[in-house]
Subunit: 215 residues, 2 copies
Amino acid sequence: MTITITAFEKSPDRGQGLARDMRVRWALEEVGQPYVVRLVSFRAMREPAHLALQPFGQIPTYEEGDLALFESGAIVFHIAERHAGLLPDDPNARARAITWMFAAIGTVEPPILERQTAMFAEGDRNWTAERLPLIDDRIRTRLSELSTRLGDAEWLDGEFSAGDLAMVHVLLRLRPSGMLAEYPNLAAYLERAEERPAYKRAYDAQAAVFKASTG
Amino acid sequence: MTITITAFEKSPDRGQGLARDMRVRWALEEVGQPYVVRLVSFRAMREPAHLALQPFGQIPTYEEGDLALFESGAIVFHIAERHAGLLPDDPNARARAITWMFAAIGTVEPPILERQTAMFAEGDRNWTAERLPLIDDRIRTRLSELSTRLGDAEWLDGEFSAGDLAMVHVLLRLRPSGMLAEYPNLAAYLERAEERPAYKRAYDAQAAVFKASTG
């Protein structure tokens, strides 16, 4: 059955790999599943046809036969459950990999999203310059804890898993801030992930959409 | 095997059910699994023994034999996978229930956490009074979308699931704001959840810790 995902017709980050369809593309590349992309405009995202698939008007969505899913974490998990390569076979190791998926989205990402909201939704407010260092301190608390846990390991828990995929993509949004460089083992962790052939294929596919839209 | 979870020794919300061990207690009550609670002080949460279990120094954690997990979403999912009652049997319905877990934590909760951070971590800042309405607008966007999707259904997708459990607990944090009352179907959804015997047992067990600590 064909897998169809949705992605932004016009990339808000100019194809730099930060939109959340990247997580789904990367997961599909890791497990070797082909997929089709349907591009959606910002206007179409708020229309009934898309809201029926994604009640919050976001991308990505995932369609396969009569199954329709949304929320990148859930889609990555679905792919990881159905195909080998993103979750360990051992039940305890599998549960720990899933834990890292939830930790990425539930604990590490919120202050990073808050930084993004401050810069984009409140960038013109007179308090934002003074607030950003407070947000960055909250982000550093999480980065420091994560750096301590990762130590000199290659991945968060044994082999590369859907937990690493989620965590890496959450952290990549911080790269322009320069904060990641303060934690050399986290910076190296991201570089290892970006060297994965599946990551590169997903990144290039997302970037190609941006290039086509501006060519 | 005994299931042991951790919870706050001193409840930050005075036992009102908002700490995240509530999600795990509720899930365990829904599936009828007994559990033991180990209370942790704020100081002990930052010590090596707890950080080995929970790298971000939070509660709850979950221990069962040689399995140790953290992150309430991951723990609820683990319980739901192992015991009947929180995920449908049909594979597509199961994937959709998991989608709602991720939607609760990844899409609905972030602006609610931002509100909490504004009130507690930045409550003394001169911008907070002016910022709160902006945050509340972002929360209302999510509530409105969720309200539209729920419509007059009892639960988010068929029978009560781990997706409802996560969403309800995320939304309950908003109750003091009064915003939920603007969406009567969401308010009724929360009330239905709170009427569940498993919810009540979990709530009472968490409240009992607070009462004992102040008795």
